[in-house]
C-alpha cells in the first residue's frame, strides 16, 4: 500500500502522542517517589529521597510484597500445569464439548472481575472456607490458566503433530517424546504465558479484594496506603522498584515472543 508522505507523518505523530499518553502517568509516578510531602500537588515542591529508606524498612510492605510474590509464583505454577494440559487435550483430540472447553477457559478472562471475585467469595463463604493464601491463589490461578492455555495452544497449532509421531515411531516412549520433542517446542510459549500469568496475579486487585483474608497482598497494601495517604510516596517508591525489577522480563518477553506475536504474550487481563 502506498502511504503518502503526509499520512505517514500524521501516523508517526499520532503514535508519538499515544506513546506519551501511555508513559506520562508512569513518569509522574516515578517523579512523585521523590516528593518531600505526603500530599500530591503540582508542581512538585522540591525533591527528597527520604521515602526510599522508610519504604525499605516498612515491614508491612515487605510482608505484602512477599505474599504477592508467593501467590504469583504458586498461581503461575498451577496455571502452567493446568493451562498446558488443557491446551494439549484441546489441540490433540477432537471430542464433543471441545469448543465449550475453550469457551469456559476464556470466561474468567472475559467476564468482569467483580463477578469472578464475588462468585468465589460466596463460594468460599458457602463452604465455610476461611480466607488465606490458598483462596487468593485459587482466585488468581483461575484467570491465569487461560493465559498459559492461549500461548501454548497457539504454539501447538503452529507445530506439526508429525514431529511427535515420528519420535514415537523411532522408539521413544511418551516421556522421552515429551522431554525431547514437545517441551522444547512449547518452552518459549510457556515462558511467555508464565510471565504474563505472574504479572496478572502480582497486580490483581478486584478478585483479591474478595478472596484475601487478614494478610495483604502488595496491591491491597497499596490500596490501604492510598486510603489514608500518610506515607503515599512509599507507594511510588515500591512501584518504581517493581518497574525496575520487571523491565528486564518485559524486554525478554518481547524477544521470546517475536515468533508468536505480541498478543499471545499479553492476551490477558489486568484487573
Amino acid at each position: 500500500m502506498s502511504d503518502t508522505r503526509a499520512s505517514r507523518a500524521a501516523l508517526a505523530v499520532w503514535a508519538t502522542l499515544i506513546a506519551l499518553f501511555l508513559l506520562a502517568p508512569i513518569l509522574l509516578i516515578v517523579l512523585y517517589a521523590f516528593n518531600p510531602s505526603n500530599v500530591q500537588s503540582w508542581p512538585l515542591h522540591g525533591l527528597s529521597t527520604k521515602w526510599f529508606s522508610s519504604t525499605w524498612h516498612n515491614q508491612e510492605m515487605r510482608q505484602a510484597f512477599g505474599l504477592s510474590v508467593r501467590a504469583a509464583l504458586i498461581s503461575t505454577g498451577i496455571a502452567l500445569l493446568l493451562g498446558s494440559m488443557a491446551a494439549f487435550a484441546v489441540h490433540r483430540f477432537r471430542f464433543f464439548g471441545r469448543e465449550a472447553i475453550s469457551f469456559v477457559l476464556v470466561l474468567p478472562l472475559a467476564l468482569p472481575g467483580i463477578i469472578t471475585g464475588m462468585a468465589l467469595n460466596s463460594f468460599f463463604a458457602f463452604g465455610g472456607v476461611s480466607f488465606s493464601l490458598t483462596t487468593i491463589v485459587i482466585g488468581h490461578a483461575t484467570f491465569c490458566i487461560v493465559t498459559v492455555y492461549n500461548n501454548v495452544i497457539a504454539r501447538l497449532r503452529r507445530t506439526q503433530t508429525s514431529l511427535v509421531e515420528a519420535s514415537m515411531d523411532l522408539g521413544a516412549d511418551g516421556w522421552q517424546t515429551f522431554r525431547h520433542v514437545t517441551l522444547p517446542v512449547i518452552a518459549t510459549a510457556l515462558v511467555a504465558g508464565g510471565l504474563l500469568a505472574f504479572a496478572l496475579s502480582f497486580d490483581e486487585v478486584i478478585v483479591t479484594t474478595f478472596t484475601a483474608g487478614a494478610q495483604n497482598t502488595l496491591p491491597l497494601w497499596i490500596f490501604g496506603s492510598i486510603r489514608l495517604g500518610q506515607n503515599l510516596p512509599q507507594v511510588n517508591v515500591v512501584v518504581l522498584f517493581v518497574i525496575a525489577l520487571t523491565f528486564v522480563p518485559v524486554v525478554l518477553a518481547q524477544r521470546l515472543t517475536r515468533d508468536t506475536g505480541v498478543v499471545r504474550m499479553t492476551a490477558g487481563r489486568r484487573r
Binding site: 510531602s37 468460599f124 465455610g128
Partner: protein
C-alpha cells in the same frame, strides 16, 4: 503400522468422563453447604497467657502505625496483620467473614460496636487486665456503645469530632455554621463523607434550624424526620463535588482546588496544614457529630492473648499520645496529656485532651440507629433504613 485415529476413538468417551466429573462436582458442592464455626468463649479471661505469635486486626487506616506496632511486636512476639476498613459497615462485614474467626480485634466506632455486640460477634473483655483502664476519662470507661448489662465488650481507644474543614483563601467570611455545606454558593466545591451515618449530620443541622421537626437525638429519627434529613441531603447532592470514601480523597480535593469546604476528620486538616495548604477546621455553632472507637475482641478470636496484650499496649499513655497525634484525635487515657505535649507542644490543649467533660458531652457520638427511640416508643427507623436512604440520596 496400524493407522490409529485417536480422534474418532475418543469421540464419545471424553465427554462422558467430563459429564461424570461434573456430576460428582455438583454432588460435592451441594453437600458442602453448612458453614463451620468454632464455639465461642463463654467466660472472660482471668489472666493473659503466653502470646500466640500472631494478631489479626481490622482497623481504621492509621491505627496500626509502625511507630507503636513495631515495639509491640518486639516486646510480645505477636506479629500484627492489619486489614484496613473504610467504614463501620465494612468492619462489621469483615468481622463476620469466614465464621468470624478470621480476625481477633476490631477498632469499631460507636455505630458498629452495638451491632457487633448484638450479633454475638464480639466477646466480653476483662478490663481488670488493662491497667490503664482506670485512667480513662469517666465517660469512656463504660460507655453505652461498648458496655451492655455491665459487661465490657472492649476497651475505649480514642475519640474526636467530625469537623468543618474549609479553604481560608476561598471561603470568606470564615463559616460559623454547617449551613455552608448546603450553600449553593459553593456548588461543585463541597465534599462530605460517603457514609450513611452522614445522615446524622443533616439531622443535627435540622434539629437546630427546623425545631418543629422535633429532632432531639440525630441518631434517633422517626420516619418523617429521616425523610426531612433525606430531603436536605438530596438538595445538597448537586452541590457535591465528590462523596469522599478515603481520607486521601478529601486531602487531594482540598489540596488541588477541587473542593473548598466539607466535613472532615482532624486528620485531613493536620495533613493539609503540614503541606502548607490554606485550610482551617472548626466546630460550627450547631455542634458536631463524632466518633469514639473501641478495640473489641472477636467472639471467635484465635489469638486472644496477643489481643489482650495489644489492648493493654495501646491503652498506655505514650502509645495513646502517639496515636492521637498521628491521626488527629483525642486519647481516652487522661494521663497521655504530658506525652502529647512532649511530642508536639500545646497539642494536649489543641485536642482537648485536658478539656472539661462538657466538651466531650457537646459531641454527638456515632451510634447505631435502632427502632428504639430511648423514650419507650419504638417508632424510630433502624440502620437498614438509613442505608437505603443514603443510596437514594446518592443515586
Amino acid at each position: 503400522m496400524v493407522k490409529h485415529d485417536s480422534r474418532q476413538q475418543g469421540a464419545w468417551r471424553a465427554p462422558l468422563g467430563a459429564a461424570l466429573v461434573t456430576l460428582a462436582a455438583m454432588a460435592i458442592v451441594a453437600c458442602g453447604g453448612s458453614g463451620s464455626s468454632s464455639a465461642s468463649r463463654t467466660a472472660t479471661a482471668a489472666s493473659i497467657g503466653k502470646g500466640e505469635g500472631k494478631l489479626n486486626v481490622i482497623a481504621w487506616e492509621g491505627y496500626t502505625d509502625p511507630k507503636w506496632v513495631k515495639p509491640f511486636e518486639q516486646q510480645t512476639g505477636c506479629q500484627v496483620n492489619a486489614k484496613y476498613a473504610g467504614s463501620s459497615d465494612e468492619m462489621v462485614t469483615l468481622m463476620r467473614q469466614g465464621g468470624g474467626s478470621q480476625y481477633d480485634l476490631v477498632s469499631a466506632s460507636g455505630d458498629a460496636s452495638l451491632r457487633l455486640i448484638r450479633g454475638g460477634d464480639v466477646q466480653a473483655v476483662n478490663v481488670n487486665l488493662i491497667p490503664d483502664w482506670v485512667n480513662f476519662i469517666p465517660q469512656l470507661k463504660s460507655p453505652p456503645h461498648n458496655t451492655v448489662g455491665g459487661k465490657h465488650y472492649g476497651v475505649s481507644l480514642q475519640w474526636g469530632p467530625n469537623s468543618l474543614l474549609y479553604d481560608t483563601s476561598k471561603v470568606t467570611p470564615a463559616p460559623t455554621s454547617w449551613s455552608v455545606i448546603y450553600d449553593p454558593r459553593y456548588r461543585g466545591r463541597i465534599t462530605v463523607p460517603d457514609n450513611p451515618i452522614q445522615i446524622a449530620d443533616a439531622a443535627l443541622y435540622l434539629s437546630k434550624h427546623q425545631p418543629s421537626l422535633g429532632i432531639s437525638d440525630p441518631y434517633e429519627l422517626t420516619a418523617s424526620q429521616l425523610d426531612a434529613a433525606k430531603q436536605l441531603l438530596k438538595q445538597q447532592r448537586p452541590l457535591i463535588k465528590k462523596y469522599w470514601a478515603l481520607a486521601s480523597d478529601e486531602i487531594d480535593l482540598f489540596r488541588n482546588g477541587d473542593a473548598v469546604v466539607g466535613a472532615a476528620w482532624p486528620y485531613q486538616t493536620n495533613t493539609l496544614q503540614a503541606d502548607k495548604a490554606p485550610v482551617k477546621d472548626m466546630i460550627p455553632s450547631e455542634g458536631a457529630t463524632g466518633w469514639a472507637d473501641t478495640w473489641m475482641l472477636s467472639a471467635h478470636a484465635q489469638h486472644p492473648n496477643c489481643a489482650y496484650q495489644w489492648m493493654r499496649w495501646v491503652s498506655t499513655p505514650k502509645v495513646q499520645a502517639q496515636q492521637a497525634l498521628s491521626f488527629g484525635e483525642t486519647p481516652a487515657n487522661t494521663t497521655a496529656c504530658p506525652f502529647m505535649d512532649q511530642i508536639e507542644k500545646g497539642s494536649c490543649a489543641r485536642y482537648h485532651a485536658n478539656a472539661p467533660a462538657s466538651y466531650f458531652d457537646s459531641i454527638r457520638f456515632w451510634k447505631t440507629p435502632t427502632t428504639d427511640c430511648g423514650n419507650g416508643r419504638n417508632d424510630c427507623v433502624d440502620y437498614g433504613a438509613w442505608q437505603q436512604a443514603w443510596t437514594e440520596v446518592k443515586g
